[in-house]
């Protein structure tokens, strides 16, 4: 498999779980970017989102492994308890350093490191959540020329995370759930 030229990042916390499942289910069978997802979850109570999606999408969906290549059409989840980073050679690396905004994995850490490697070949979605993770990451994405899309706070189950990101960063695109779904349905 070839390394992906483009990545789509998704950061979600409380209230984003079902939406993320729907987004992945909307995907066409073949698409070329890699999709990398950070969802806050407690490592002690591992949700089986990877298994659920693998069964529904009939394709293997995995946790991103340390030093693994980021491949075209791959769907990767950040492992609970570890930060997920993107390396300049377009591989993943894991890191168990301090929590960022009470989170590990942290959406900021993925967004910031991916932005610097993929530049304008990077699109990031920030979804529902009860904290402020993602805000700093978006700042860096914008600096690096990446595209940023935030879920409309009025449609997010918990609006804190998207709201904070919008207030702190100004010019971000805001999508309602219908637009988000249509983006993934039409992904090439």
């Amino acid at each position: 498999m070839e390394k992906a030229d483009d990545v789509i990042l998704i950061g979600g916390s409380a209230g984003s779980y079902t939406l993320i499942i729907d987004m992945m289910e909307a995907l066409p069978e073949i698409f070329s970017p890699a999709i990398v997802i950070v969802i806050h979850r407690n490592p002690k109570f591992t949700t089986r989102i990877e298994d659920t999606l693998s069964a529904r999408l009939k394709k293997e969906i995995v946790q991103a492994e340390d030093k693994a290549h980021i491949l075209k059409g791959g769907i990767y989840f950040a492992a609970p308890g570890y930060h997920l980073l993107v390396e300049p050679d377009k591989t993943f690396s894991l890191d168990i350093s301090e929590r960022v905004r009470f989170s590990r994995p942290s959406i900021d850490v993925l967004f910031e490191t991916a932005a610097e490697v993929y530049l304008d070949h990077c699109t990031a979605f920030l979804l529902s959540g009860a904290n402020q993770d993602g805000t700093d990451g978006i700042k860096q994405l914008q600096r690096m020329g990446s595209k940023v899309i935030v879920q409309s706070p009025t449609e997010a189950l918990i609006s804190t995370m998207p709201k904070h990101a919008i207030e702190a960063n100004g010019h971000v695109e805001i999508y309602n759930n219908r637009q988000i779904m249509s983006y993934f349905r039409n992904l090439k």
Binding site: K67, Y82, L94, D95, I96, S97
Partner: protein
């Protein structure tokens, strides 16, 4: 040196810093995962309110700065009995083999502040193996080793450590092994007795003893595949025949040729045994 706005380091500047640190000190950061290292260096710059020029200047001109930098760069997040089921796997899958050795030497490589070393000592005590055991705890960071030697930890951490300990399927109570006073707790002397902490740099140092058991957990993720490979050879050479190698839950031997010289004892927790 104070700067009002924060300054960002680029990958090219990071490479310059890596080379500079290599030149002025014995620390080789060449094989470190770049993005992770960059975040750590950026963190030091933010803490010290430095830009890249200040940083270079300090590395060259400020005595002891490169040691401080190394100590700040290394990640020292650890806990007692992290991944309780790993410790359970040691008890069921590894200790029965270890019972067959008359003398046991353990190496906890990248032991940070020592919580993992004391966890191991407690497990060995409970398995009645500790009297014939000796544990070496090593780390590149000299500061954390001082903490490890003292064996005194904040009492507030023990809520999590107790949960972890209970999750290993333990027989006793963790409080049997420490004494609390004010807001700290010290590990008991009979747990501390057969342990030596000393500095060792996995990136540059060599074999220093022969071991029946090496654990190196959540350290290799900070290194690229090439440096990982060097370290796996170092571990291989340091292990006795049928000795054990235990890695973190996200660290595997499978991407490396040296796997052919090991047998998998527990796939989930990356426990391997040297067989050739």
């Amino acid at each position: 040196m104070a700067k009002l706005t924060s300054s960002h380091i680029s990958f090219q500047e990071l490479q310059d810093i890596v080379e500079l640190v290599g030149k002025v000190s014995g620390f080789n950061l060449m094989g470190y995962s770049k993005s992770s290292l960059k975040r750590r260096v950026q963190r030091v710059m933010d803490l010290e309110r430095m830009d890249v020029v200040d940083l270079k200047n300090a590395i060259i001109n400020v005595e002891g700065f490169h040691t401080y930098l190394m100590n700040e760069i290394t990640v020292n997040v650890t806990e007692m009995f992290r991944d309780p089921l790993y410790y359970n796997a040691l008890r069921t899958d590894v200790f029965p083999y270890l019972e067959t050795f008359p003398r046991l030497k353990f190496w906890s490589a990248g032991c940070s502040t020592g919580e993992e070393v004391y966890s191991l000592a407690i497990m060995l005590t409970e398995a009645d193996l500790y009297n014939r055991s000796f544990i070496y705890g090593t780390d590149v960071n000299s500061n954390v080793l001082e903490v490890a030697k003292k064996a005194i930890y904040p009492l507030k951490s023990f809520k999590l450590y107790t949960e972890n300990y209970n999750g290993t399927g333990a027989f006793n109570s963790l409080s049997d092994y420490y004494t609390a006073m004010y807001d700290a707790a010290i590990i008991h002397a009979d747990i501390r007795k057969n342990i030596l902490f000393s500095q060792h740099n996995l990136a540059t140092d060599y074999v220093f003893n022969e071991f029946q058991f090496i654990s190196c957990r959540n350290v290799l993720i900070y290194f690229d595949l090439e440096l990982q490979n060097r370290i796996f050879h170092l571990f291989y050479e340091s292990l006795s025949e049928f000795g054990f190698l235990c890695l973190g839950t996200k660290e595997t031997l499978f991407n490396h040729k040296i796997m052919s010289k090991f047998k998998v004892i527990n796939k989930k927790f990356n426990i391997y045994q040297k067989i050739k």
